[in-house]
Symmetry: C2
Subunit: 442 residues, 2 copies
């Protein structure tokens, strides 16, 4: 009989377990895959240089993640940002500096006006009617109305689709606003992106450190298939505990067999929050050669992946590409060789013939990961947030819910995962009479 | 070792099994619940009069269902349609005849124009760009643009939401068009509704007859949790067969554990096709008293359920109410007594104080059914149909997919379920070398 069983050893699960153990509880963490870290996953290329196949950024406003990184001595560095960015299509290539690609003045004005309107929506309190209207509208519809020029719209669609890891056609406008709010508004989000750091030894470092502390309280290769729950305890695949914290993504949490079954709202919510689609690749070169051409490595390719420079200090040249939404789904249908060729064609368009011959090439397709089945996170299709959205966080008896999606701040980020795990741990601590005396020291 | 295992004993599963057995194959049907019929479910009130808690209608254009009903001698009757219909709100009550509620001429004109536009969309071939545009738009957005008058819009939202069992805020416009096409266009759909019949002894009668024929080839109370599949055979919870036909709703099919895991497109599709929300109730009265007031029993309540007269010939008065989408989700949060009180308040608004005292009251909340988790069927949120929609029907190795959602004609209806089961049976027959010699007699 354990005090709490935690399902999933991503940042949410590990931070929940860490907090509960600090409070003196007996915890057990069950992880389906053969590693900890969840949607962060650090791998290595020749020379033992880290590449992050999953989440990788940390920003100063990621206060919980920063505290964790400091505790475990995980060092970070500012990624290379000097030089020109690129705006690509299949037939064009433009260098630019700053945040906005080079556009005719009237298009820049349109984008600025749309951004201003979006900013107002994210900072004002919405009435119920406004919220329902925005929730019944896709981001694609909103952009079509605000950005009548196809080129400006295509840029906005690419940028927002990349941020959300799902096509603007599929997401509720209210969900976009909620996502932006969760990062502290447009300014907060942009500030976090422009001051973001990467981890020298990979973003799952603190997760590995927590796992080392938890030791054999973590069981790998243990997918959870059933949770029986009563007034007195829970049985997680036959393992008994007072409470359980489920930290896996909502659609996968919905695939666990619950006895008794989940209430209608919770069950229907897990049917209505699918995972985005994300495919990340890394091309390794002897040196970051694009820098000598005065290029930053940041490329927005309207007909291909977004590219950025993730070269470690003194390490080999590393270009990371990110493909999301429908493009990622289409890429999934290709063979690895075809995907590689297609991705490198985009790199050649941006960085010239030198890009044709990486010394190594890696990819991680999150839609094929059997224990994530998508990335970066679950999204809200229209009509969900304003109907059964609250079922995402509401505990069901002795079952608590965590995971980045359940965070109110930085949902979908590593920061959100950490906060959600800590919040769920507190929830379990404060609602369980048996744990009442326990206090978290700091 | 069986030839084919069928998962689910609704109409799709039963008709697949029936066809395969006719071809001489050894089949096994595994059903999670303690009954056959799936989303049809006939119950009885005092005097052994049938009520259909689930699907209930049959129309002349439901050719496969009609053939089945004839084979098994299931008799039907035309439901009572004489008298005035009602249009209700919390504060108003209007009698009307014909299909359109009483509205000022300019609103009728707007509705007619919207209907004409919709008809054009369903009869014309759409370009890829048009299809993608419609798929990135919710039905709510389309209605807001076409019906600027709130009252007209509210009627359209109520009617379409009732047809789709989900709020217009959540559904792709392309999905609506596809649904209408699948019924043979607007005219076909309306014709089917106006010539629809009910089954004297309930709509699951033919399903019960097929089940009786299949005998112990059906195992009840056997939820399927895992399917292992190889190049040579399948193992369904340890039971071996050459092929398996999965007929349960897409989101529930997604909850089965597959080894090896499903390809990304199939997995992400099952994450993206949630079940609608439907709650059906029956109020039983000594007589169909509303008929003496010249009322048909058909009521469109903009603040409550849709009501219709399902009184059996010579049977007690039976009013059926249907609550869908967000309203059904909200009703689910109430107690049975509160739901009953709320429903009967709507009946009183329509049919007077006599409606206050039914001799019996029944309900079926499909979102709470653990083996359906919603109804009438799964729907397409925006952006799904034009991206990974085809994964709905594409077999994965030895796994075939059926169920009403997979039908190209009458998807979401009993007719679609029957056709999908027969199609999947043919698929299994024609692709399996071992079955090659088998022929279906007729």
């Amino acid at each position: 009989m354990h005090d709490v069983i935690v399902v999933g050893a991503g940042y949410a699960g590990l931070c929940a377990a860490r907090r509960l153990r600090t409070a003196g509880l007996d915890i057990l963490v069950l992880e389906a895959s053969n590693r900890v870290g969840g949607r962060t996953h650090t791998s290595h290329v020749a020379g033992n240089w880290a590449i992050d196949l999953g989440g990788q950024w940390i920003a100063p406003t990621h206060t919980h993640f920063t505290a964790l990184a400091n505790t475990y001595g995980a060092t970070t560095f500012t990624s290379h940002e000097q030089g020109d960015n690129l705006l690509l299509t299949n037939t064009s290539r433009h260098r630019y500096t700053g945040q906005l690609p080079p556009l005719p003045p009237h298009i820049t004005a349109l984008l600025a006006a749309a951004l201003w309107k979006l900013d107002r929506l994210t900072t004002r309190t919405l009435t119920t009617t406004q919220a329902q209207h925005l929730d019944s509208t896709t981001v694609a519809t909103w952009l079509r109305r605000r950005l009548p020029t196809p080129h400006a719209r295509r840029i906005a669609e690419t940028v927002l689709g990349g941020e959300l890891s799902v096509d603007v056609a599929s997401v509720s406008m209210l969900a976009l606003i909620t996502a932006i709010r969760s990062t502290g508004g447009i300014r907060g989000g942009i500030e976090a992106e422009t001051t973001g750091h990467l981890f020298t030894h990979g973003a799952d470092g603190p997760a590995q450190s927590i796992a080392a502390e938890l030791g054999d309280a973590i069981r790998l290769n243990t997918p959870v298939t059933s949770i029986h729950h009563t007034k007195d305890d829970v049985l997680v695949d036959g393992l008994r505990a007072k409470r359980v914290i489920v930290t896996i993504p909502p659609p996968l949490a919905g695939r666990i067999h619950y006895d008794p079954p989940m209430p209608a709202a919770r069950d229907q919510l897990t049917q209505r929050m699918p995972m985005g689609s994300a495919l990340k690749t890394f091309a390794v070169y002897d040196t970051p050669f694009w820098r000598t051409d005065g290029l930053s490595g940041l490329t927005l390719d309207l007909d291909g992946p977004t590219t950025f420079d993730v070269t470690r200090p003194k390490g080999p040249g590393l270009l990371c590409t990110l493909i999301t939404g429908r493009a990622a789904q289409q890429m999934t249908e290709l063979t690895t060789e075809e995907r590689k060729a297609k991705t490198i064609r985009s790199l050649i368009r941006g960085y010239g013939p030198h890009a044709a011959h990486p010394t190594d090439w890696r990819e991680k397709n999150w839609t094929e990961d059997p224990y994530c089945r998508g990335g970066y996170s679950a999204y809200y299709p229209p009509g969900v947030l304003t109907s059964i959205g609250p079922a995402l966080r509401t505990p069901i008896g002795r079952i608590h819910w965590a995971g980045s999606e359940t965070a109110t701040q930085w949902a979908g980020y590593i920061e959100g995962a950490i906060r959600s795990g800590e919040r769920a741990a507190d929830e379990a601590l404060h609602t369980e009479p048996k744990f009442k005396k326990r206090e978290i020291p700091d």
